[in-house]
Amino acid sequence: MTAFLSLPEAIAQYVHDGDTVALEGFTHLISFAAGHEIIRQKKSNLTLVRMTPDLIYDQLIGMGCARKLIFSWGGNPGVGSLHQLRDAVEHSWPRPLELEEHSHAAMAHAYAAGAAGLPCAIFRGYAGSDLVGKHSNIRFIECPFTGERLAAVPAIRPDVGIIHAQRADRKGNILIEGIVGVQKEVVLAATLAVVTVEEITDELHAPSPNAVVLPYWTVSAVVLAPEGARPSYAHGYYGRDNAFYTAWDTIARDRESFLSWMREHVLGDRK
């Protein structure tokens, strides 16, 4: 059921212009390799979904792949702004970027609702926040028992969900460890799911019966992509390259230095 593909094959086969794509990983296991392949294949008009856009979305936006961003926190963690994201929002460069902005609580609930097959999620949220009314995807319902006003957001259901994980076994079962974020949810919520992994092993070697495992039949394609999360990290494999995250602030602040870095480090990688 699960295809084992190369990264170029998987992105060519599963990501199409105009798709709603969620590359997730909450400050851990971020799918940099997959994002770079999307850039190399010049995918366009994507609606990008991600709680914390991070550097990989800064790159996708700066390279013009996105028309819309659904997100809840768009910064370079601990460093400052995502300058390409800002340039798109403030100056429509390289193209305008529509924003659908949420809180983390809203997006976490919305991913969970997507995984749970519900049309929406309800939660105690957005009380008094000016985020309400900025788009039509924050509404309110009344609890049918207490009358309490609860926030509601539609479930997130991407066309394609992409995550990076520690490993797969030969059937395609996936093990995720450490900060698991919304990795399970995005795979279950998405119509199609691509998982890049550090390694493929005969046995999964889950450390506990309750380890976070995605059965192979929830995954469309498994891609071997060692170090596929750098400069993010993979718990148990390698650490976060915080120095690069800091350096990115300078690289991305200027359009030319950004493009030059992308040409050298991403576009030049192949062909």
Binding site: T27, S81, F123, K134, K184, H235, N242, Y245
Partner: protein, 268 residues
């Protein structure tokens, strides 16, 4: 471990701010910690007077005890030293919304006299002058934690009469605005800046200066505040940092700076 000798009388306003914030935390607090100054203050508290404090980062790490300050909300140290790491939906559902957190720490680009916080945009939302990172966990941290401590450097750009955008609701237009919204939590109850400590007036909820850091004047505070700031009847003076607090904070920051400059540090 000490990196350099500490002279009692020499410390920066930023250090005073972090130390003052750390002192506000109790040993039995369950803290929802943000990156930057809140993280420094919370870990300083853990390394000084509150060794049993529970630190929770929104990445899902519960009861974490990092040896260095994380750069991101989900650095490897946080998970490696946590007593458990849960999924992000579980973090926001069971732990934050579940009402388990005693203190949430927030910062922001702007705060107003009723402690509403803006971390979204400067200027108009549709055509912002500055597009800030956005809400993250803040709106629900502000509504779900039992109380909120805010830590921000104080100046007229950050302490404004009215925020450009309410990302996180504090006390709205004051008075019982929270109750009228159905909120049952206390909201912002302490603002720690590099100049002073403020608390909301018990009735009006307008911020009032309750303590001034050593060497800071009332005039400096008034000048750094975008509205006519009020002072409590009895304003205290913040005790200066102790040698112990300064030493531990500086060691923590030195370890942190070293770790974050090592490229591709391996945690496997």
């Amino acid at each position: 471990m000490a990196s350099e000798p500490v002279a009692t009388t020499t410390y920066t306003a930023a250090e005073m701010m972090i130390i003052a914030a750390s002192r506000s935390l109790r040993n039995d607090d369950i803290c929802f910690v943000g990156i930057g100054a809140p993280s420094a203050a919370c870990n300083l508290a853990r390394l000084t007077h509150a060794p049993d404090i529970t630190l929770i980062y929104e990445s899902g790490t519960i009861g974490t005890k990092p040896d260095i300050l994380p750069l991101s909300i989900g650095d490897p140290e946080l998970c490696e030293t946590a007593i458990t790491t849960v999924s992000v939906p579980e973090m926001f559902q069971y732990w934050l919304q579940g009402g388990r957190i005693s203190v949430g720490f927030l910062g922001g680009a702007q705060i107003d006299r009723f402690s509403n916080i803006n971390s979204t945009v400067i200027g108009d939302y549709a055509h912002p002058t500055v597009r800030l990172p956005g809400a993250g966990g803040a709106p629900e941290i502000a509504s779900c934690c039992q109380q909120i401590y805010v830590i921000m450097r104080q100046n007229r750009r950050s302490f404004v009469p009215q925020v450009d955008f309410i990302t996180s609701f504090g006390h709205g237009t004051g008075g019982d605005a929270r109750q009228r919204l159905g909120l049952r939590t206390a909201g912002p109850s302490l603002i720690v800046t590099d100049l002073c400590l403020m608390r909301p007036d018990s009735e009006s909820k307008e911020l009032i200066v309750v303590a001034i850091h050593p060497g800071v004047t009332r005039e400096q505070i008034m000048e750094a505040t975008g509205w006519p700031i009020r002072f409590a009847d009895h304003v205290e003076q913040t005790p200066p940092p102790t040698d112990g607090e300064l030493t531990i904070l500086r060691e923590l920051q030195t370890r942190t700076a070293q770790a974050h400059s090592d490229e591709k540090r391996d945690h496997s």
